[in-house]
C-alpha cells in the first residue's frame, strides 16, 4: 500500500483548523474508497448542464452548439424570407439527454434569437437577465420549502457564451453594456464568432483590444480572477485568461482532408478545420466548457452567483411584490445585484489599465 504522507493535498481549499491534530495511520484503512462511492453515485444520478448562447443572428450560435456537442441539438434553422424578425427578444430552450461511456448528461441550451437585432437595442439584456434570475428564483423557492425534494432540479444557467462579431476593432457599446450586467449574474465566456474572416494577426490585435476593453470596464469573465482558490488554479486559469476571448469557427459538416474525415467549412480557398488548433481555437473552448471546467462552472454558479442572488433576494424581499407562493420577479436592474467584490476588482482593473498605459 502507498506510504502515507502527513502533508495536506496540494489543492486543498480548507485549511485544517488549529485544533485538529493530523493523525498518522499505520496501515491501509480504505478511506479513498469513498471516491469510488462518489463516482458510482454521480453516474447513477446523471449530470445536468445549462448553457446559454447570446449574440446577434447570423453569428453561428446554433452551429457552434451543434459542433460543441457533436449532435443535432438545434435542427438547422435557415431563416425563411417569409418570417418577420421577432420584435422582442424571446428565449428559446431545448433540453436533450446525451450519453457518453455511461455518463448521462442532461443538456439544456437556451438561445436568444433577436438579441441586438432591433434598431433600438435599449434594454435588450433585460429579458435575458430576467430569465437567469427566474431560474435562480425557481431554485430558491424549491430550497426554502418545508418539505423539499431530495434532488432539486437545477435549471440555473451555468454558462453564458457571448458571441462577439468579428469586426476586428474593439467591443461595441452594446457588448460592453451587456457584459457588464451579465458577468455579475452568471459565468460569461466571450468568444469571437466567425473567426474565419480574420487573419491570425488581426485575431491577436482584436483579442488584445477586447481584453483591454474588458479590464477597463471591470468586466470579469470566466474564469474569474477573484475566484481562484490557490496557486495551481491561478496558473491554470491565467493561461486560459490569456486566450480569452477564443476565436472560434463552427461547422457541422464533415469533409475529407488528407484522407481523414474532419469537421470543417469548405471554401474556395481551402477547408477550415474546426478541430485544428492552427486554424481556430474551438478545441480550447470545448476543453474549457466540457472537458475540464464543467464542474467548476456549476460550482461557481451554485456557490457564488446563486448565493449573491439569494442574499439580495432575502434582504430586499419587502420591496418585491407579494403573491401566492411563487413571487414573480421583475427583471432586476443591474445595480442591485452588484457584489461587494466588484468594487475591489474595479480598483485593481483600473490600476492594471493605468500600468498598461505607461
Amino acid at each position: 500500500m502507498d506510504p502515507l504522507r502527513q502533508s495536506p493535498s496540494p489543492g486543498s481549499s480548507r485549511p485544517s483548523s488549529p485544533r485538529t491534530p493530523p493523525c498518522e495511520m499505520f496501515d491501509y484503512v480504505g478511506i479513498e474508497a469513498v471516491l469510488d462511492q462518489l463516482k458510482i453515485k454521480a453516474m447513477k444520478m446523471g449530470f445536468e448542464f445549462n448553457i446559454m448562447v447570446v449574440g446577434q443572428s447570423g453569428l453561428g450560435k446554433s452551429t457552434m452548439v451543434n459542433t460543441l456537442f457533436k449532435s443535432k441539438v438545434w435542427k438547422s434553422n435557415i431563416p425563411n424570407l417569409g418570417t418577420p424578425t421577432p420584435q422582442t427578444l424571446k428565449l428559446h430552450s431545448v433540453t436533450h439527454i446525451i450519453e457518453e461511456k455511461g455518463v448521462k448528461l442532461k443538456l439544456t441550451v437556451t438561445d436568444t434569437p433577436g438579441f441586438g437585432d432591433q434598431i433600438n437595442n435599449d434594454k435588450c439584456w433585460d429579458p435575458i437577465l430576467g430569465y437567469i434570475n427566474e431560474q435562480y428564483e425557481r431554485y430558491l423557492q424549491e430550497e426554502i420549502l418545508i418539505t423539499r425534494q431530495r434532488h432539486i432540479p437545477d435549471t440555473r444557467v451555468h454558462c453564458c457564451v457571448y458571441f462577439v462579431p468579428p469586426t476586428g476593432h474593439c467591443l461595441r457599446p452594446l457588448d460592453i453594456e451587456f457584459l457588464q450586467r451579465l458577468c455579475r449574474a452568471v459565468n460569461v465566456v466571450p468568444v469571437i464568432a466567425r473567426a474565419d474572416s480574420l487573419t491570425i494577426e488581426e485575431r491577436e490585435t482584436f483579442r488584445q483590444r477586447i481584453q483591454h476593453n474588458l479590464r477597463s470596464h471591470c468586466i470579469e469573465v470566466y474564469p474569474q480572477k477573484s475566484l481562484d482558490e490557490d496557486t495551481n488554479d491561478r496558473i491554470l486559469n491565467s493561461k486560459i485568461r490569456d486566450r480569452i476571448p477564443f476565436a472560434v469557427v463552427g461547422a457541422d459538416r464533415e469533409h475529407l482532408v488528407n484522407g481523414k474525415c474532419v469537421l470543417g467549412r469548405k471554401t474556395k480557398w481551402g477547408i477550415i478545420e474546426v478541430e485544428n488548433m492552427a486554424h481556430c481555437e474551438f478545441p480550447l473552448l470545448r476543453d474549457l466548457l466540457i472537458r475540464s471546467h464543467l464542474q467548476d462552472l456549476k460550482d461557481i454558479t451554485h456557490n457564488v452567483h446563486y448565493e449573491n442572488y439569494r442574499v439580495c433576494r432575502l434582504n430586499e424581499s419587502h420591496l418585491l411584490p407579494q403573491g401566492p407562493g411563487w413571487v414573480n420577479l421583475a427583471p432586476t436592474p443591474a445595480g442591485r445585484l452588484a457584489t461587494p467584490q466588484s468594487s475591489k476588482v474595479c480598483q485593481q482593473a483600473q490600476d492594471d489599465a493605468k500600468d498598461e498605459a505607461y
Binding site: G30, T95, E100, L105, K106
Partner: protein, 427 residues
C-alpha cells in the same frame, strides 16, 4: 445502468440525441471527484455504549491509529459527550474525522435521563447546520459539517438479550441518526451463543419498532454485498491495537492463555465486515442519508414549530419570505409595545418622584414659616420688654427731675429739714 432521475425526465419530453463523435464529458465524474478531493471529506461517528465496552479501542482499530484520550472512570454523575476531531490523510484523500464518545453512559443508578444528552447533542448539530443554511450570507460549501453520520451502538455481550436502557436509547435515536448496532467485546461469547444472541437482538429491535440503518441495496454494484451484510447485523466485533506475530505476519490480536483471537480474521469476529461497510462501501451513503433523511426531518419539524407553512388554509402556497415578513413585523410590534410600556413606567416613576419632592418642599416651607413666626413672637416680646423698660427709665427720669425741682425749692424755703426729710425719704 438504471438512472431513475434521468429516466423520469425523459418521460417529460426530452429526447435522447445520439452523438456523432467524442465530445469529452465522460470526464465529468473525474472532475467531480477531483473537486471533492480538493475540498476534503468529513465524517462524524458517534459511539454510544457503556463505559468499558471498548469504544475507544475499536475506533483506534478501525482507523489504524492511536487517538488521544484517557479511559473514562465509572463515577460520572451524568452522561456527557466527548468529541474529538482528527485529520486523516490517505494517498490524496483527506478526511476530517470527528469521533464523539459518550462518557458515563449506563453508570448511574437512575438511568432514566441517560439518553437525553445524546439526543440534545445530535439536535444541536442539526440546529447549527440549519442556522447556517438559513443565514442570509452563508458559506455552505466551506462549512464544517458536524452532523453525526453514523452512530455505533455498543451492546454489552451478555448473550441473553438487549438491556432496557439499550432499547429505550435506540428508540429515541433511530429517527435522528443512522444506528449501526454492534456487539462489543464479542470474544466473550461463543459461536453458538452468538448466533442466538444476534437473532434475539434483531427480533427485539423489530418488535419494538427500532429502525436501524440498513445498507442500501438499490444500486447493483453494491446490492449483493450490502444484502449479505444486512443479514449479519449486528456485527460482533473485537478491538485491539496490539500486534502479535502469528505465523509469519504481524497481526492485530488479543492473546489469551487458551488461544489468540485475531481481529481481522473473519472466522473470529465481524470486524472486517464492519470496516468494509462503514468505510469502504457506504461512507458516502451514510452521509447522504443523514443529510437527506434525518436532517430534512429535523428541519421540517423545526420550521413547522417556528410557524412556517408551505401552504395556508386557502391552499395558496406561502413563501417563506412572507412568513419571515409577518414574523418580523410581529416581532417589531412586540418590541414597540415593550418600549411603550417601559416609557409609561418611566413616566410614572418620574411623577412619583416629583410628588415626593413636592411633599418635602412643602414640609420645608411649613417649617420655615413656623420658625419665622416663632422669631417674630420672640421679637415682639423683646420689644415689649424693651418698651416697658424704656417706660420705667422715663418714669425714673421724670421722678428724678421732679425730685431735683423739689429739692431746689426746698433748699430755698425750709433748708435742711426737707433735705433731712428727703434723705430719710431717700433712705
Amino acid at each position: 445502468m438504471a438512472a431513475t432521475d434521468i429516466a423520469r425526465q425523459v418521460g417529460e419530453g426530452c429526447r435522447t440525441v445520439p452523438l456523432a463523435g467524442h465530445v469529452g464529458f465522460d470526464s465529468l465524474p473525474d472532475q467531480l471527484v477531483n473537486k471533492s478531493v480538493s475540498q476534503g471529506f468529513c465524517f462524524n461517528i458517534l459511539c454510544v455504549g457503556e463505559t468499558g465496552l471498548g469504544k475507544s479501542t475499536l475506533m483506534d482499530t478501525l482507523f489504524n491509529t492511536k487517538f488521544e484520550g484517557e479511559p473514562a472512570t465509572h463515577t460520572q454523575p451524568g452522561v456527557q459527550l466527548r468529541s474529538n476531531t482528527y485529520d486523516l490523510q490517505e494517498s490524496n484523500v483527506g478526511l476530517k474525522l470527528t469521533i464523539v464518545s459518550t462518557v458515563g453512559f449506563g453508570d448511574q443508578i437512575n438511568k432514566e435521563d441517560s439518553y437525553k444528552p445524546i439526543v440534545e447533542f445530535i439536535d444541536a448539530q442539526f440546529e447549527a447546520y440549519l442556522q447556517e443554511e438559513l443565514k442570509i450570507r452563508r458559506v455552505l460549501h466551506t462549512y464544517h459539517d458536524s452532523r453525526i453520520h453514523a452512530c455505533l451502538y455498543f451492546i454489552a455481550p451478555t448473550g441473553h438479550s438487549l438491556k432496557s436502557l439499550d432499547l429505550v436509547t435506540m428508540k429515541k435515536l433511530d429517527s435522528k441518526v443512522n444506528i449501526i448496532p454492534i456487539i462489543a467485546k464479542s470474544d466473550a461469547i461463543s459461536k453458538s451463543e452468538l448466533t442466538k444472541f444476534k437473532i434475539k437482538i434483531t427480533s427485539e429491535l423489530v418488535s419494538n419498532g427500532v429502525q436501524i440503518y440498513q445498507f442500501p441495496t438499490d444500486d447493483e454494484s453494491v446490492a449483493e454485498i450490502n444484502g449479505t451484510m444486512n443479514a449479519h447485523l449486528p456485527f460482533a466485533v473485537i478491538g485491539s491495537t496490539e500486534e502479535l506475530k502469528i505465523g509469519n505476519k504481524m497481526m492485530k490480536a488479543r492473546q489469551y492463555p487458551w488461544g489468540t483471537v485475531q481481529v481481522e480474521n473473519e472466522a473470529h469476529c465481524d470486524f472486517v465486515k464492519l470496516r468494509e461497510m462503514l468505510i469502504r462501501v457506504n461512507m458516502d451513503d451514510l452521509r447522504e442519508q443523514t443529510h437527506s433523511r434525518h436532517y430534512e426531518l429535523y428541519r421540517r419539524c423545526k420550521l413547522e414549530e417556528m410557524g412556517f407553512k408551505d401552504t395556508d388554509p386557502d391552499s395558496k402556497p406561502f413563501s417563506l419570505q412572507e412568513t419571515y415578513e409577518a414574523k418580523r413585523n410581529e416581532f417589531l410590534g412586540e418590541l414597540q409595545k415593550k418600549e411603550e410600556e417601559m416609557r409609561q413606567m418611566f413616566v410614572q416613576r418620574v411623577k412619583e418622584k416629583e410628588a415626593e419632592l413636592k411633599e418635602a418642599e412643602k414640609e420645608l416651607h411649613e417649617k420655615f414659616d413656623r420658625l419665622k413666626k416663632l422669631h417674630q413672637d420672640e421679637k415682639k416680646k423683646l420689644e415689649d420688654k424693651k418698651k416697658s423698660l424704656d417706660d420705667e427709665v422715663n418714669a425714673f427720669k421724670q421722678r428724678k427731675t421732679a425730685a431735683e425741682l423739689l429739692q431746689s425749692q426746698g433748699s430755698q424755703a425750709g433748708g435742711s429739714q426737707t433735705l433731712k426729710r428727703d434723705k430719710e425719704k431717700k433712705n
